[in-house]
């Protein structure tokens, strides 16, 4: 995480209200860039909501959006660290399809027929996911060794990986589509049955709010211990309140989306529940892939901000030579970022194929560019050393909001591509200009 510095106003801007708003953000110690992105997202959502006559901000669409963003968000968490350390990974779409096909073949052919577990064995999904993640880590590790220890530029290694793993995927399945998948594995992809329901969702919300409270208190104690200036009490309380509201609001929205009537009726018939006249309303709750994405984002933020590995990544990105001279094992650190990326691509492979209920040959093609775009829109700098996981995840949500929002209001696909391109370049452009102003001021 980049530490938020209070940005002093330049001559051009700086009326009294702006100053006080700034001092509020400074007091809260929130990254101004993050605030900007959240504001952009809110504007985008309101705009789409108006254009779609209130459909965009309906619980159903927001729930859709959360599931559609999950796989990209998961991979963006890894890509941020890769880009921060001045590298790039173009191979993630190909790792995704290769791992997805291996997992698909494992659960539909190898485990049922060769190992003899039979179809839809309860242990299948665990074995499949573990092997998939191990494979992702291995592929990432190979890329990492070639980049960090042999010294081949990451662009070249992962461009090779882009070709190799997609080719390997084709050889493996001979162009077949593997479908349908294991019934338990499918839950990883979300869908009403792959969601937590209202009770569990509220439980998750409760845990989340407790974690936020603990985080604030722990940070206060830590500062006290080291004699750092404390955040004002009002700021701590405000932060806690905002966090609580966001978590509770998100879960409330997810729970306001009831199961589709056809599915609810089928569920009622299965369990012998009488259907009331208004239809059976089963709250859907948080989808499993969304929970996964959130958990991964929290874990990666912790890793990036609080662990030695994460701090090393930022030091290397800030100045590789200085990091090396400071005694950081830069090679090992770089290799680890690619292992992490491989693991996240494998998890995204599980989510994407489970959601589609199929492992197809074209899965994940072009996804590397979406993920890189999400990281960059989220404020990650190609110059290295700058970028946050939270920003990357927000970037992923902005990208997906643009795409599914435009499909919702029926924008022509050619125009969609243009809009996404313009947003990408302007987001980075605005960020660059603001950053230059900040350093000058």
């Amino acid at each position: 995480m980049t530490e938020a510095k209070p940005i002093e106003g330049t001559a051009a801007s700086g009326g009294p209200t702006k100053r006080s708003a700034r001092s509020v953000f400074a007091g809260l110690e929130i990254d101004g860039r993050l605030i900007g992105m959240i504001a952009a997202l809110i504007i985008l959502w309101v705009l789409f909501n108006v254009l779609s006559n209130g459909l965009f901000l309906s619980p159903r669409n927001l729930w859709n959006l959360s599931v559609q963003s999950a796989a990209i968000a998961i991979m963006t968490c890894g890509m941020v660290l890769i880009i921060v350390s001045r590298n790039i990974d173009l191979s993630i779409g190909s790792i995704l399809v290769f791992v997805a096909l291996v997992m698909g073949l494992l659960q539909t052919e190898w485990l049922p027929n060769v190992v003899g577990l039979g179809l839809n064995h309860p242990a299948t999904w665990v074995i499949v996911v573990i092997i998939g993640i191990a494979l992702g880590a291995l592929i990432g590790g190979v890329h990492g060794v070639l980049i960090a220890y042999i010294g081949i530029p990451s662009f070249i290694v992962t461009l090779g990986g882009l070709l190799i793993w997609r080719g390997a995927a084709f050889v493996l399945a001979r162009g077949r589509t593997i479908s349908p998948l294991d019934t338990t594995f499918q839950l990883l992809g979300g869908g009403p049955r792959g969601s937590l329901g209202d009770v569990l969702s509220w439980l998750v919300a409760g845990l989340g709010i407790m974690a936020i409270a603990y985080g604030i208190v722990a940070s206060r104690r830590r500062r006290q211990r080291y004699g750092f200036p404390l955040r004002a009490v009002w700021a701590d309380v405000t932060l806690g309140a905002i966090g609580t509201l966001v978590v509770a609001g998100a879960v409330w929205v997810a729970n306001s989306y009831p199961w589709p009537p056809a599915l609810a009726a089928a569920y009622a018939a299965e369990h012998g529940i009488p259907v009331p006249s208004g239809g059976l309303l089963i709250p859907t709750g948080i989808a499993i892939p969304v929970l996964l994405a959130i958990a991964i984002a929290v874990f990666m933020t912790f890793l990036a901000g609080r662990r030695r590995f994460g701090r090393y990544v930022y030091s290397i990105g800030g100045n590789p030579e200085a990091a090396e001279l400071a005694g950081i094992n830069t090679r090992l650190t770089i290799m680890k970022t690619f292992v992490a990326m491989g693991i996240l691509a494998a998890i995204a492979a599980a989510v994407t194929s489970a959601r589609l209920n199929a492992a197809t040959n074209g899965l994940g093609s072009g996804v590397e560019l979406q993920v890189i775009a999400a990281a960059v829109i989220g404020g990650t700098s190609f110059a290295g050393g700058i970028g946050t996981i939270a920003g990357g995840v927000l970037g992923a949500v902005i990208m997906q909001s643009l795409q599914s929002g435009m499909v919702l209001i029926g924008v022509d696909t050619a125009l969609q591509d243009i809009v996404v391109g313009v947003v990408l370049v302007s987001a980075v452009g605005i960020d660059t200009i603001l950053r230059r102003r900040a350093t000058r001021g």
Partner: protein, 370 residues
């Protein structure tokens, strides 16, 4: 397969060598007769020698369906087969065609990897007096016989069966990649069937319910379908998908809403998982283009061209225009729509095994499955 391919490459090399050794630096037309005179071993079967320039064997169908089809047809008609693989490379294919011309083939079948880049090679063959068959990919040359499945008809067939299953209501259309011409042909065929019904008000395509799909990707089609269902509050009765892969995405989106059994969806390709969906009743139709049949027809047409090089006189060929506007002849094969009524067809053709077709299908629910 690699042994066979090596053998065929060696055969070509031998023939090239023989042609050069026998005739020296001859002009191309002279080369067509040279091997017959110089290679005694193949002399008996050179009445009709057909060379095929494949674009790739990386896709399953070519080695498994197209090539055996053409080989069998040639063997039955007393022709000889020579094939080579361009491995998805335009330069390789150009030199492959040159090798076939040098080998003295009587007919060249080109399954173009890059239909633009191969045109000089096509011209060389035509100039050498060798009839050319454009196999499954159109060539902008008036002297090439275009042999393909009729994609406009595929579009009609998808729409016809879906309309039969859902005569009224809201339709969504999932189209393929907008940079290619195939989606246009397919869409034109669909339009012929649904236009009168749209005019009469029986069928409506809601705003935004007709979408392009980058790279024909299933996951993109899934997101589109989710958004179409959201925008229309699930009030969609039928989906016309331009291929089975995208239908996989659309069906996943429908399934998440519990609509996979009620919304009627049709597509094409005869992919195994799609045929399984047809058997299960979650897809109305998958229009199947039999690649073996395409190979067989190429063999039969080549045998006729050996006797008479006029492409317009091939049985079944009709006058047509290329996309670029050249007058030529085309031999368009009718695809076969596979529905629950004729599953036996794909089983008989050994396109799919009964186990694959009937996976999870309730016993006795459809003919063709036990």
């Amino acid at each position: 397969m690699s042994i066979r391919r090596t053998a065929s490459i060696m055969a070509i090399a031998a023939l090239v060598f023989a042609a050069c050794g026998g005739g020296g630096a001859t002009t191309a037309p002279a080369a067509t007769t040279a091997p017959a005179a110089t290679t005694a071993a193949t002399a008996a079967a050179t009445a009709c020698k057909v060379g095929v320039a494949w674009s790739t064997f990386q896709e399953e169908r070519y080695g498994l369906r197209d090539e055996p089809g053409i080989k069998a047809a040639l063997a039955a008609g007393g022709g000889e087969y020579i094939g080579n693989d361009a491995k998805n490379n335009a330069e390789t294919q150009a030199s492959n065609v040159a090798a076939l011309i040098a080998a003295g083939v009587n007919v060249i079948v080109i399954n173009a990897y890059d239909p633009e880049a191969i045109l000089p090679s096509v011209k060389a063959a035509v100039d050498a007096g060798i009839p050319v068959i454009a196999y499954d990919r159109e060539l902008e040359n008036a002297n090439a016989l275009f042999l393909t499945h009729d994609n406009v008809e595929v579009g009609r067939m998808i729409a016809r069966d879906v309309v039969k299953a859902a005569p009224t209501g809201n339709y969504a259309i999932i189209k393929g990649d907008k940079t290619q011409t195939n989606p246009l042909f397919l869409r034109a065929g669909m339009e012929e069937i649904i236009a009168p019904l749209i005019a009469s008000g029986d069928i409506t395509i809601p705003a935004g319910a007709e979408v392009d799909t980058d790279g024909w990707k299933a996951e993109v089609a899934q997101t589109s379908m989710e958004q179409i269902l959201t925008a229309n509050n699930n009030d969609i009765q039928a989906v016309l998908s331009q291929n089975d892969n995208m239908a996989t995405g659309a069906v996943a989106a429908l399934k998440a809403q519990g609509l996979d059994k009620t919304v009627k969806i049709g597509a094409q390709d005869g992919d195994k998982f799609a045929l399984n969906r047809v058997a299960l009743g979650t897809q109305v139709v998958s229009v199947w283009k039999d690649a073996t049949e395409l190979g067989t027809e190429a063999g039969v047409a080549a045998l006729q061209l050996c006797k008479d090089p006029d492409i317009s006189k091939v049985a079944g060929a009709t006058a047509s225009k290329t996309t670029g506007g050249l007058d030529t002849s085309a031999l368009l094969l009718a695809p076969i729509p596979i529905t629950q009524a004729n599953l036996q067809v794909v089983l008989d053709a050994k396109w799919i095994t009964e186990a694959e077709l009937c996976k999870d299908v309730a016993a006795g629910s459809v003919t063709g499955c036990p």
